[in-house]
Symmetry: C2
Subunit: 427 residues, 2 copies
């Protein structure tokens, strides 16, 4: 099988345009820890994949998966100790307002549950999200994605500009004034929903606005917006699919950005590759949802999800990965920040724990996004053995989001490669 | 841990009202082949679970799962031989009109893809489904569930009465006339969508109307409704989540009920418990979807889904399970049909392969559904070591849908237990 034949067969079998990374896509055949290996035996440091949070091919996860699948894997309408214990462990990691969980198979499904639950308990339809977010791919959730200033096709949805310091909504304001300006835009969205007759059910946001930047957030915004939403009778849904599970150096993104959500959605890293997701909330919210919706999800809340989910939690604890994310992430971002004043095209470097972004611009004065250079950088870094991607509203933010087992050594090696890229681009 | 403590903990952790089967729910701890075992060591013949199609704890599936997870399990934006080959094998099992596939993690997600794709390629919004169906639990797909004669909250959706011979739409007609009456109702739904301005995108239906009965379908209906839909510029989406994968004694339900769908949705049995689903269609439809929607599903189209999915296909072939479903199912339904004239409360026995239903009624003349007796029967059969459930519009159809490894011996043992129940109820 040649590489080009495989690519052609893929176009036929999965459809032309099924997403691929890099100008010359990689054929990855093996993974181990933070490393991925291609079909030619080349090794890459994985700095993109958050799903295999406890490492590619983690043996403890493999063992738990195989043992449970060899014992029992069945739907959730029988009693089973495993899924109850897993739910209890997940809930115990949250603040006191989170009491019960609904399991599903993807982030999209968990967001669907959260929105349905919020609409049910408030009796209202209106949902607010940011103008550059992504929460999933169903018709409802997909209609919130990268919405910009458009009205969602689905109705009952409004977007507000995500809060940031780098390209502020208005120039020349103090951080506090800027924060107020963003809050005012959230209020406008709520008013618009009320005017339409949808009324206001919930605000959904990633706790670190992962897809939006992640931006540096005006101080106090998250706490104040939570208060505003509550005053307006709405609920706050934290999408922790990317920001949760130790990613930011604490368990949850909302601990890092200082607010207490009413509902929490988790997904990607929960199963180290096994599809698992969850929506957690106050018990009376979950009870109401159970009573009204008769929700059932065939392959969710299974003994397999439970066994694998708990093995992942065990490994995060055993390997002290939350602290690792904090320490390795903090050191790496401090090194990256040093490069901002040194190179005019590095506009900003920021992030939380092991979710970091390097903003690539035409020049520091204009801050004009340079998506082309960002893409070039990600391809260059790939050739040097480091896998990153890009994100942000303008696709001009190098996205660094490695497995949580990413080490200081990995970070140092990356910095050498990054400096090489800088040198080559300056030639 | 006592049984009642576990139940209480479950209520707290998963929410009160999270679905459970049986008056006294089972704590299932182990599975093997067609058997499930509870925490007290009791053995049950599983006649409900279609997901573990090649048998609970199938060793070949466990091996494939463990080996792949120990090698590589990563998202789909790299080239990987496994997922391409799995897609090719899946497509090759369909008729020539099915050329490419989009993978996802649940039946709901696969139906979402189908509807989004149908709306995209037709440029229309309107969807038609039956009045007693269930296709999934997202806001969009859930709004089609058990719709009856209500209008869907989501808009752009119309329901028509599912075709059946047992409680026909109109009495005293020939089968051909009855078929025409059902077709006329489909036409009404299409007209209603056009009048609303949604125009008509697609008809979605389970190929055997599994949740609706499964009913005996007026001869010719499926072929004629397909023609009608095409004449009206719409597409036919076959939901094969329950009817596919050999369940009916042929690979696909649509082979059994004689029509050629434009899109096929598959799910539950594909991974023997690992979440896998797919939407397959003509390549130009999938290409258009890829181009417009930029669809990405983190834990779908992975090497793990591929390896496990292929192990399931291999086991179906090795164990000749499609033929087994045909032979065991045909013999079991013929035995069950014998009981209809013998017992006034057994209204009907029908089905396809290993998806069988026994309709429980107050008496054969009135055909009044007896949901209470159906529930009692399912509880009694459980006590005798046979796990069935119930379905249908009135919850009065004993639902028999075992793993495909279900044997003649299992069927014979069930018939003895069923006769015992009949005897006890006649006392």
């Amino acid at each position: 099988m040649t590489y080009s034949t495989l690519w052609q067969r893929r176009d036929q079998a999965l459809g032309t345009g099924a997403e691929l990374f890099y100008d010359k896509p990689l054929e990855i055949v093996r993974g181990e820890g933070t490393y991925l290996f291609d079909s030619e035996g080349n090794r890459y440091v994985d700095m993109y994949n958050n799903v295999p949070c406890v490492g590619h091919a983690n043996p403890a996860v493999v063992k738990a998966m195989a043992e449970q699948q060899a014992t029992l894997n069945v739907h959730s309408r029988y009693l089973h100790e495993g899924i109850v214990t897993f739910a209890e462990r997940l809930i115990a990691l949250h603040h006191d307002g989170i009491e019960s969980a609904v399991f599903s198979c993807s982030g999209t499904e968990a967001v669907e549950v959260a929105i349905q639950m919020a609409r049910l308990v408030t009796g209202h339809k209106g949902i607010i999200c940011t103008d550059a977010t992504y929460h999933g791919n169903s018709e409802l959730v997909g209609s919130m994605s990268y919405l910009g200033t458009e009205m969602s096709e689905m109705g009952h949805i409004r977007a507000f500009p995500f809060p940031e310091l780098y390209r502020p909504l208005e120039e020349g304001l103090s951080e506090e004034q800027l924060c107020d300006r963003y809050l005012a835009r959230v209020e406008c969205s709520i008013e618009s929903l009320k005017a339409e007759g949808s009324d206001f059910a919930a605000l959904i946001m990633c706790s670190i606005f992962a897809n939006e930047g992640p931006p540096e957030i005006p101080s106090g915004f998250m706490e104040k917006v939570t208060k505003l939403v509550h005053n307006e009778g709405g609920l706050v849904i934290a999408d922790e699919v990317q920001s949760g599970y130790g990613r930011t150096g604490v368990w949850w993104g909302y601990e890092k950005t200082h607010f207490l959500p009413d509902m929490v959605v988790t997904g990607k890293p929960m199963g180290n590759g096994l599809p698992i997701s969850a929506t957690a909330a106050r018990k009376d919210f979950v009870d109401a949802f159970r009573a009204q919706k008769d929700y059932f999800n065939t392959c969710a809340a299974t003994p397999l999800q439970a066994a694998v989910g708990m093995a992942v939690l065990d490994e995060i604890e055993r390997l002290d990965l939350v602290r690792n994310a904090s320490e390795v992430g903090d050191r790496l971002i401090s090194k990256l920040k040093e490069k901002v004043p040194e190179h005019d095209w590095i506009g900003d470097a920021r992030g939380f724990g092991l979710f970091l972004g390097v903003e690539i611009v035409k020049d520091s004065a204009s801050k004009d996004p340079d998506a082309e250079l960002t893409l070039l950088l990600s391809n260059r870094l790939k050739e040097k053995g480091f896998l990153v991607s890009y994100s942000g509203r303008f696709n001009n933010v190098l996205k660094i989001r490695p497995p949580l087992v990413f080490s200081h050594e990995n970070a140092d090696a990356f910095l050498v490669a990054f400096d090489e890229c800088i040198g080559e681009l300056s030639e």
